[in-house]
């Protein structure tokens, strides 16, 4: 899953507290008008605009002309892959379409534009809401309010959740380390921290402390608003603070996504929301390519991502081949047939009554016949753990923690198994959920 380090240069996020207020930095939403029926929802990507049913609203990367939607109900049977060879999409008798998978956010006959919200008259006669000229959609992968399942795995390349603007100084960005949303510098995207020793909205980190924890400086003309202040330091320079907590970078952080200051006594990463708690059965192992989510034994967990990419002169659209209403041939091509696949990729079954947070970790019903995809909502069957709505599996050929032999099995342009990044899982937390390497 490609939720590595992501920077919302549109700066559209806010934190509604999901847990302990003391460990999260609240950002104030920018006030702006929105149409009737458009709601706000808390998600792991921040506060997003949602439809009247609470389903997250998305914009699409393939809509590259303002006011024009490329998403139609056109059925595409074949594409051209990267080497120029033709290939067929699966399920010719039941092809998904873009509109079928990402329905438009429809405006009715009486709807009127307001603020950033405009209305597109589509060639098919429908009226579609747009925000800043970008056509808007929901996703069949989201079953409940607050889900952003379209953004997991391969979907992220095409879609973005429509997040609500927040008040943010130019020197600060929202960053993401897999599921942890943090504040970062705008210039070098370095993680920001706060100090417990800073009380009364002012910094107590001077001298030697400041060579290790670098203040995030504000310009002399900095405008204080929306929870952002810029108190003066001892040397007269102004430093950005959020909700009374001055912000710093850590001297040993070099790359975006580094958080080496984590765990320093008295210091915390400036998280925008408390981390999603992990179910007891889910652990983390620090593999050679970073921390990955594992089962309770420490064996790497995998999810299957299936995208049909109609590129190279085609529509440019990607349709998902991992929605519960399908049975795609691409699910089994890399492991033989249903029985051999069931032997190779093994779901992590959930105990009766088990529940996750519902957004990152959830319990879903498996399909009757082995599939890497959940069953349609409301279907009875075996219950298994899922990450962002996708069942998680272990790989038959791994027998100890840290093995990653199942990672990237598949074909990139169609379906591929991927490990799940757990970067940031220990931000402001202890590492008790980590599986330690056994001696060999």
């Amino acid at each position: 899953m490609k939720r590595s380090v992501l920077f919302a240069t549109i700066s559209l996020l806010s934190a509604t507290l999901l847990g302990n207020a003391a460990s999260a930095a609240e950002l104030q939403l920018k006030e702006e008008p929105r149409p009737q029926g458009i709601t706000l929802q808390n998600t792991i990507d921040g506060v997003v605009y949602a439809d009247k049913n609470g389903k997250t609203i998305y914009t699409a990367g393939f809509d590259n002309k303002p006011g024009e939607s490329k998403c139609t109900d056109k059925i595409v049977l074949r594409g051209i892959e990267g080497h120029g060879d033709p290939f067929a999409f699966p399920n010719h008798d039941n092809r998904p379409t873009c509109l079928g998978q990402t329905p438009i956010v429809a405006a009715d006959a009486n709807s009127k534009p307001v603020g950033q919200w405009t209305i597109i008259d589509r060639p098919d006669g429908l009226k579609q809401w747009a925000y800043s000229g970008r056509p808007l959609y929901t996703s069949v992968k989201d079953f409940h309010p607050g889900e952003t399942n379209l953004l997991s795995l391969g979907g992220r390349g095409d879609f973005r959740a429509l997040t609500v603007p927040v008040i943010l100084p130019p020197e600060v960005l929202i960053g993401q380390v897999t599921t942890a949303r943090i504040l970062t510098t705008a210039e070098k995207k370095l993680t920001l921290y706060t100090s417990a020793a800073d009380t009364n909205g002012k910094s107590n980190c001077e001298g030697a402390c400041a060579t290790k924890w670098h203040p995030v400086l504000a310009p002399e003309v900095a405008k204080e608003q929306g929870g952002w202040t810029a108190p003066r330091r001892a040397d007269g320079a102004r430093q950005w603070a959020i909700n009374g907590k001055p912000l710093y970078t850590f001297a040993r952080d070099v790359y975006p996504g580094d958080y080496r200051g984590n765990g320093q006594p008295g210091w915390e990463v400036a998280l925008l929301a408390p981390l999603t708690p992990m179910p007891d059965v889910i652990k983390v192992y620090d593999t050679v390519v970073g921390p990955k989510f594992t089962d309770s034994r420490g064996w790497t967990l995998y999810v299957f991502s299936c995208n049909e990419k109609d590129e190279n002169g085609g529509s440019g659209l990607h349709t998902a081949c991992d929605t519960p209403d399908q049975r795609s041939h691409w699910w089994t091509f890399n492991c033989g047939n249903v029985p051999t696949c069931a032997d190779t990729w093994r779901p992590v079954l959930a105990a009766e009554g088990a529940k996750g947070d519902g957004k990152v970790w959830s319990v879903v019903t498996l399909q009757d016949q082995w599939a890497p995809v959940r069953a349609p909502e409301g279907t009875p069957g075996k219950q298994a753990w899922a990450y962002m709505g996708v069942p998680v599996f272990t790989y038959k050929y791994e027998d100890r923690p840290g093995m990653m032999e199942g990672d990237l099995i598949g074909i990139r342009v169609s379906g591929q198994w991927e490990s799940i990044d757990a970067g940031g899982y220990d931000i402001n937390h202890s590492k008790t959920t980590q599986v330690r390497a056994a001696s060999r």
Partner: protein
């Protein structure tokens, strides 16, 4: 002190110093290397006529067209099984890459016929006869005449265009060595009293954390820092070794696993059993050979997702490649079936001298020490590379 006593004292002092030197206590040093290039060992001629007299191996696109001869047949198959990149050739559309057992190639597979290779005598025999642990197989001779070398994997891969030195997969794998860090391999040799002859040194092979840098002419810059990834304990291996006439050879390592990319984008673990490493310790850029046995099934799974997934680029045919691996397997004989389950393999490595850096207490504990603006243990030229990356 009388003059004679003085000089006696000084003389004894020199002797004492020399004694310390020869005992290794005062002068034992550490050598470090980073892997900067690698290829399969073996004989690869520019026109491949010696090792592949009938031509290079057919790829799976060739086998697809041999299986489905007309465009109509091809289109019908592609549509029926949503085939992509000619790979879903099994009776029910199974992938030839991931389920090669379910696909049969009709075109003959061309295996390497060359007789020259660097490597090791893994089975201990002179002529490759079967033993209770190994299967009968041909032996190779090194370019310098060293006999009885085991390198059966060469027979399987030598005629696969992309896997040969300079081929697409080979080239991409080595390009990734420069551009990525996941595939970083570092070697540290400690207890070295004499780089020419030393009867006991310690070798550590581990995953590294830093990029390699090239100068303006493309040569890898030696003596830069390379951090050993001490968190990746699964990839830290130790061996004792001897140095004879400037050539270091390790004892047998029961297991050696290295992270490598063998193609455009995917990485995997190349796992050896009974591994050995030999390094010619000369200058800033050393040549080495690493060899051992690969479990056939595990090696194939690694190959499938790194090279096989790009079978068009490598011009390989996975179904044939898989069967050839099993056919050429020469080690770890299954006592029940009598079939060998592992294949001998040898790789030519190019190493560049490096200063191996271990985690300091600061790295481990992030102590309250005052730190300078940038990490003190990173040399200035590497700092430039790191800052550029961050931007």
């Amino acid at each position: 002190m009388a003059r004679r006593d003085f000089w006696k004292t000084v003389g004894l002092g020199f002797v004492a110093t020399a004694s310390l030197t020869y005992s290794g206590v005062a002068s034992a040093k550490t050598l470090g290397f980073v892997l900067t290039n690698w290829h399969y060992s073996g004989q690869f001629t520019p026109d491949n006529k010696i090792e592949c007299p009938d031509g290079l191996a057919y790829g799976h696109r060739d086998n697809f067209r041999a299986q489905f001869k007309t465009k109509e047949e091809q289109d019908a198959h592609i549509d029926k099984f949503a085939d992509i990149e000619w790979t879903f050739r099994g009776p029910n559309g199974e992938s030839d890459i991931y389920v090669p057992q379910m696909v049969e190639d009709s075109l003959p597979y061309r295996e390497g016929q060359g007789k020259v290779s660097y490597g090791f005598n893994l089975d201990g025999t002179k002529n490759g006869q079967a033993t209770n642990r190994t299967c009968a197989h041909a032996k190779f001779t090194s370019p310098e005449g060293e006999p009885a070398i085991d390198n059966q994997i060469y027979q399987t891969m030598a005629c696969v265009k992309g896997m040969r030195p300079g081929g697409d997969s080979d080239g991409m794998a080595n390009t990734q060595l420069i551009s990525k860090v996941v595939n970083r391999i570092v070697i540290e040799i400690t207890g070295v009293d004499d780089e020419a002859n030393d009867d006991q040194v310690e070798v550590t092979i581990a995953h590294g954390l830093d990029k390699v840098l090239q100068g303006p002419t493309g040569e890898f810059i030696p003596h830069l820092s390379q951090r050993m990834d001490e968190k990746a304990k699964d990839f830290i291996f130790h061996a004792k070794a001897k140095i004879v006439n400037g050539i270091l050879t390790t004892d047998v390592m029961p297991s050696l696993e290295v992270v490598q990319m063998s193609g455009p984008g995917e990485w995997g673990v190349r796992a050896f059993k009974d591994a050995r490493l030999k390094i010619t310790l000369a200058g800033d850029h050393a040549k080495a050979v690493v060899g051992g046995y690969h479990d056939v099934e595990r090696y194939y799974r690694y190959w499938a997702k790194t090279v096989g997934q790009h079978a068009i680029t490598s011009n390989s045919s996975p179904a044939s490649f898989y069967r050839s691996l099993h056919r050429n397997a020469d080690g770890y004989k299954d006592p029940v079936t009598g079939k060998c389950t592992a294949i001998s393999a040898s790789y030519d490595w190019e190493l560049t001298k490096a200063f191996i850096v271990h985690e300091t207490p600061e790295e481990k504990d992030i102590s309250a020490n005052v730190l300078s603006d940038t990490p003190a243990d990173v040399p200035a030229d590497v700092k430039v590379a790191l800052v550029t990356e961050a931007q």
